[in-house]
């Protein structure tokens, strides 16, 4: 028996089955609803998983947990840095601070957070839909097929590999 669908390894080696469908390996978005994106909470410290972007402010280190939130670490004693809390902010990628205010993205929104009392930070404002975040609407790869972003489905929180049939979008 002939296989109608072949599993292919790369987008460039894609083939068509007997019904002339293109079946390829690619990426699909994992959505978060716009309501869930508005979640904000200060919670207990967490372990690092996929961190990297950092800001130092007034003896504290703020470290972005990619798309999940922000770790706050007390560096007053450099020999004993201490995690003090985690801010749950879906879709966060970047931070900067000035005058006791933490500015961060939250998907397409901009958050304004008062950090005067680091044990009880206060979300002061959310500027809705100020960022296009075009790069969030496509997978973080240089080449390949992907399922096109559908703004009605929510905001893209991540991408996962999958098998796609007749994808319309590619990089």
């Amino acid at each position: 028996m002939w296989l109608n669908v072949c599993i292919v390894m790369t987008a460039t080696s894609c083939i068509r089955d007997n019904d002339l469908h293109q079946v390829v390996e690619g990426y699909k978005p994992i959505y978060i609803s716009y309501d869930s994106l508005l979640h904000f909470k200060q919670s207990d410290p967490r372990t690092f998983f996929n961190t990297g972007k950092i800001s130092y402010y007034n003896k504290y280190l703020f470290m972005v947990e990619h798309l999940q939130g922000v770790h706050i670490i007390n560096l007053s004693d450099t020999t004993k840095p201490e995690r003090i809390s985690f801010l749950e902010i879906p879709g966060v990628q970047d931070i900067t601070l000035k005058d006791q205010i933490l500015y961060t993205d939250n998907g397409p929104h901009l958050l304004v957070i008062d950090i005067t009392d680091l044990n009880h930070v206060v979300l002061l404002k959310r500027n809705l839909f100020v960022f296009q975040q075009t790069d969030a609407k496509r997978p973080p790869v240089r080449f390949g097929w992907f399922e096109c972003y559908n703004p009605n489905a929510g905001w893209v929180l991540d991408w996962q590999t999958t098998t796609l049939t007749d994808p319309k979008c590619s990089l």
Binding site: T47, F48, F49, N50, T51, G52, K53, I54, S55, Y56, Y57, L61, F62, M63, I73, L75, T78, T79, K80, P81, R83, Q93, D94, I95, T96, L97, K98, D99, Q100, I101, Y103, T104, D105, L110, V112, D114, L124, K125, N127, V130, F131, Q132, Q133, T134, D135, R142
Partner: protein, 244 residues
């Protein structure tokens, strides 16, 4: 009468010296009230303005009232903007196809003052004087490039050094620190700004991503840990603490 004139002159002198102090305060306040950010971020503040890179735009928010940022302006650059670093009165933007120097003398109305194109890659930058150090990586290639910024024109490429998979970058005086995913933190002597000399590697950190240098202390973030290093002797960094 003479006394009154002298008194008035004294007041005038006093007032004029106050206004000069006010201007200085605006400049010095930069380091005091703003966070010090790593080289891979896309947000930064300068004076009463917040800059945010959003794909092909620099979005410019007024934060005269810090709790109420107001989008005032946008600067479009035909590229994919990835990193922002403020040095003196310029923003240096690392992008997919090039590096751009943006004059922010008028913070709400930035102007691109010089730039250079490079191969397609991501690129955090660090600046000292007129020299710009930029790391780029793509697939299995990576490199450190040194540009000289001739304001109002193009950067001039001065040198290139191969590095496996470079990420963030930082400068302390005559030393340059480069995060390399495969090898740790690579340390260069840049006394000769155009010819960095590799002098040491700090291999103990796995997949370093970015650095912040605070005097003799360097904060190194990695994928799932961070290290604090004493870099009083930059060639022999000493571990102060780790959080994993």
């Amino acid at each position: 009468m003479k006394k009154q004139i002298i008194f008035l002159m004294t007041i005038v002198l006093f007032l004029s010296s106050c206004s000069i102090d006010g201007g200085d305060f605006g400049d010095t306040s930069y380091g005091d009230s703003n966070s010090i950010n790593g080289s891979t971020g896309r947000f930064a503040t300068y004076k009463n303005v917040m800059y945010a890179l959003d794909f092909n735009k620099i979005k410019i928010f007024s934060i005269d009232n810090p709790s109420d940022p107001i989008l005032q302006n946008e600067l479009t650059i035909n590229d994919e903007l990835e990193t922002i670093t403020i040095y003196q009165n310029h923003i240096y933007v690392g992008a997919r196809r090039g590096v751009y120097a943006v004059d922010i003398t008028n913070p709400l109305n930035p102007i691109v003052s010089s730039s250079i194109e490079h191969w397609i890659a991501k690129d955090p930058v660090a600046i000292t004087g007129k020299y710009i150090y930029s790391t780029t990586r793509d697939f299995n290639r990576g490199r450190l490039t040194i540009y000289e910024d001739r304001t109002n024109g193009n950067f001039i490429e001065r040198n290139t050094i191969a590095i496996d998979q470079p990420y963030g970058i930082g400068i302390k005086d005559d030393f340059l620190f480069v995060c390399d995913d495969r090898n740790g933190i690579i340390i260069f002597n840049i006394t000769n700004r155009e010819n960095p000399l590799e002098v040491a590697t700090y291999p103990s950190i796995t997949s370093p991503r970015d650095v912040i240098i605070l005097g003799d202390i360097m904060i190194c973030s990695a994928k799932n840990e961070f290290h604090l290093l004493d870099i009083k002797d930059p060639v022999h960094p000493k571990l102060v603490s780790i959080i994993q």
